[in-house]
Amino acid sequence: MNINEATPKSIASIVWPAMPTPHAASLLAMQYQLEQTEWWSAEALRKVQLDQLGLVLRHAYETIPFYRMRLSSIGYQPKNPLTAEDFARIPLLLRSDIQTQGKALLSNRPVVAHGRVSSGITSGSTGRPINYYGTELTGFFWQALTLREHIWHNRDIAKRMAVIRMGLQNANHPTWGPPTDIPFVTAPCATLDIRTDVDKQVDWLLEQRANYLLTFPTNARALAEACLKRGVHFDGLLEVRTLGETVDQELRDLCREAWGVKLVDIYSACEIGYIALQCPVNEHYHAQSESLLVEVLDKNNQPCQAGEIGRIVVSTLHNSMMPLIRYELLDYAEVGPTCSCGRGLPVLKRIMGRQRNLVALPDGRRYWPSTGYKEWGGRLPIRQAQIVQRSLSIVEAKLVLSRPLLPAEETEFVTILHRSLGHPFEIIFSYHQEIPRSAGGKFEDFISEVT
């Protein structure tokens, strides 16, 4: 049953149309609204975004010392309506600002009605870990946009999902999980840790007979290549879904060649949620303007035109705990022309962010590695890291530090890396002022030189 034709779950005595539970109703209510706003013109969207950002700025000015200083420096007046010109004068927020400012970026009076505060650590696309904070409200928008993504691609929720990602157990779940199973009855979902050897992943997928596969692009590439090499076809596979890394045309073509299915990509970041989702009609992306304002800026900080590539700068519309205003993500995107689908949501033709190689182990296993940033990100003085596998036994840790590591910290880092990579490699350290991107604009936070 395609999600657009499915009847949501309902209270006992009503079968159709459904009377969903309050949480499910709030998600569907937001879908109703998003299905209106996505067709608004770019100008209409920009106007309501600026109105909403006016509220965010006022809150940030009143409750966050960092922003009070920053906004005062440009003559910000909280009583005046926010104009596009005023907004463009706000200095960009760098990842290094977040690293150095720490809790000075948090509101001392988060809006109580926005719910409980949650936090996490992310390395982002460039190996620079930061702490981030959100609220139940930001979590709600995350859920609503997850549901939008399923609705846009009209997935059959009666079909099986398989997910191969970081930190997952090898398990079978009765549903696709939240938020999809809040309003809808779904088929089961099977999960697998991405650090499973690629050939074993292929065997596992053959057993699962999944209809949808969600994984990282690099892993999808390795799976497709392995299937082609082994002559394996996943019967019933309808779509490959990817997130977390850069997707290129070659990978899309490879998925078609190996399995005869399309690839649908998601562009998101832990600290801000969904940034852009693949269009239901075309293979480019639509910015999620109802959740954040996305700017693509050239080297003079001017908006890029269609066909130009620039830096992605986002402003969160609903995070009252840690608003990120004009935050430079360190990803790049090419601005696309207006989409033929008719949506007014801005178009990103392609996105250049993170890419990660597979790690190769001496016993022949290969898998998508973790760099362990969640463990060292909050504790060690590492501003940026790139891990390079030089051989089957040696791994180099290229680090940018805010101060030299103590011997105990070096030992701790080595222990974390051994655990993350799944093998006791010899770790050699090198220290740098900055670790640049590759020529193609992608940042590779794990590079393997082992062929």
């Binding site: 005595s13 159709w16 709030s26 569907l28 209510a29 109703y32 706003t37 975004q49 926005h114 109802e290």
Partner: protein, 459 residues
């Protein structure tokens, strides 16, 4: 024009979060946005699923159905073929069943009971009950109607309708900050203003309307036609008016044309009843109507009880999908409708070309003022055993009250009825009670519960 969803969360204006009740409205609209395009057979299949649940409830909780449906296989009943075999529920059945049609209890999520009294389209008063769920559907379908016709919620709405005595008193009416609970639960709306149709003469309405200069006007078709006749072509005083909306009575093609041509704007009509809610709403791109299949199953039947074909007129028979307070299953409401072929708009909701129901003439007071007449159904039901009533104005002083009654009224009952009618009409007319065995429809099939039979010179 961009209608903005209301937000009840601080520091969040957009996208709006309207709160649990508003969410429930929008969540249902999300479903209706999809179901309206489904094919007729898919809609019918879902209706049958819901009616199966309603039947279950009716047999367990409503003594009338317990008897009526005794021994039937409910699963077989809840199929298109089985449904057609269920007996028709007439207004007389409802009158006779009385409290036996009220559910002994409802699932808690259906909320509270509320009573509904209506004369319907045939002057035969009945009593039924609704629930919070039926009220909720009423609100959501009101929203659908606005959204179908792209109404600008920022505009000003003027309503001339029957209101409680203390509201909307002429000449000034009652200003209200928003359009009402159906719309302002989830949307931010402009102001509205109310005038009581029961007490405002046509000339008072015209004066008020020019003063208020609304964007939209809502009233009964017969009243609207009288208003347009009174005011003539639209002047600059009504320059803001974008559309007029009609409710509660039949709107025939001639009246529609007369209003649209004289005022040079579109009339949008809805077909609803108090006991069943919205039955059909005018299509966004045509003058005909779409059945509200997500709330009611509507059958149009010929004299033999068979479904009519496009172009044929038949009896309207309704089954409410979600009313667990007084389930109305295969209820013959007393209206007639012409079935139309599928609509070019692409919606799968069945199409009705026209509805032939109630129509009302205007009352003329002795001073010559014209007024939309009330008949007092909501008051006399509990006092006198009248099954059907029609008022006929014979002169500026006299009214015939034609009535079908179980037995001749006693002196006390007659006196009570006369007082109620005088009060409802707003003038102490001389009321003559005329007993009849049946009150039939007019030649066009419309039932006129108030008939103006004045000599031309006297009107």
């Amino acid at each position: 024009m961009t209608n903005m969803i209301r937000s009840r969360v601080p520091s969040l204006n957009w996208p709006g979060l309207p709160g649990p009740y508003g969410d429930a409205h929008l969540a249902l609209l999300w479903q209706l946005e999809r179901s309206q395009w489904w094919k007729a057979d898919a809609l019918l299949a879902y209706q049958m699923k819901q009616l199966r649940a309603t039947l279950d409830h009716a047999v367990k909780q409503v003594s009338y159905y317990r008897t009526r449906l005794a021994g039937l296989d409910l699963t077989a009943c809840a199929t298109p073929e089985g449904w057609a075999e269920l007996p028709i529920l007439t207004r007389s059945n409802i009158q006779e069943a009385g409290p036996q049609l009220r559910s002994d209890g409802m699932p808690s999520e259906h909320g509270r009971f509320h009573e509904v009294q209506t004369s319907g389209s045939t002057g035969k008063p009945i009593r039924a009950f609704g629930s919070d769920i039926t009220a909720f559907y009423w609100n959501v379908l009101t929203l659908r109607w606005h959204l179908w016709h792209k109404h600008d919620f920022a505009g000003k709405l003027a309503s001339i309708r029957i209101l409680d005595e203390s509201i909307g008193t002429p000449p000034n009416g009652t200003p209200v900050p928003a359009w009402g609970p159906a719309t302002d639960t989830a949307w931010v709306t402009g102001p509205s203003t109310l005038l009581n149709l029961a007490t405002a003469s046509v000339s008072q309405q015209a004066e008020w309307l020019q003063r208020e200069s609304p964007d939209y006007l809502l009233t009964h078709p017969s009243n609207l036609a009288a208003l347009v006749r009174e005011m003539g072509p639209r002047t600059t005083a009504l320059r803001n008016l974008r559309e007029v909306w009609t409710i509660s009575e039949s709107l025939d093609a001639n009246t529609r044309r007369f209003i649209e041509e004289t005022w040079q704007l579109r009339v949008v009509d809805t077909y609803s009843s108090r006991e069943c809610g919205y039955l059909a709403i005018q299509c966004p791109i045509a003058d005909h109507y779409h059945v509200q299949s997500e709330s009611v199953l509507v059958e149009i039947l010929d004299d033999e009880g068979r479904p009519t074909e496009p172009g044929e007129i038949g009896r309207v028979v309704i089954s409410t999908l979600h009313n667990y307070a007084t389930p109305l299953l295969r209820y013959e409401i007393g209206d007639y409708a012409e079935v139309a072929p599928p609509c070019s708009c692409g919606r799968g909701l069945p199409t009705l070309r026209r509805i032939v129901g109630r129509q009302r003439n205007m009352l003329t007071l002795p001073d010559g003022q014209k007024r939309w007449p009330r008949c007092g159904y909501d008051q006399f039901m509990d006092i006198v055993p009248v099954r059907q009533l029609r008022l006929v104005q014979r002169s500026l002083q006299t009214i015939d009250a034609e009535l079908v009654a179980d037995h001749p009224l006693s002196d006390t009952e007659s006196k009570a009825l006369i007082e109620i009618v005088q009060q409802a009409l707003g003038y102490p007319f001389e009321i003559h009670l005329v007993y009849v065995s049946n009150i039939s429809r007019g030649s066009g099939g419309k039932f006129e519960e108030f008939l103006a039979a004045l000599e031309p010179s006297k009107s």
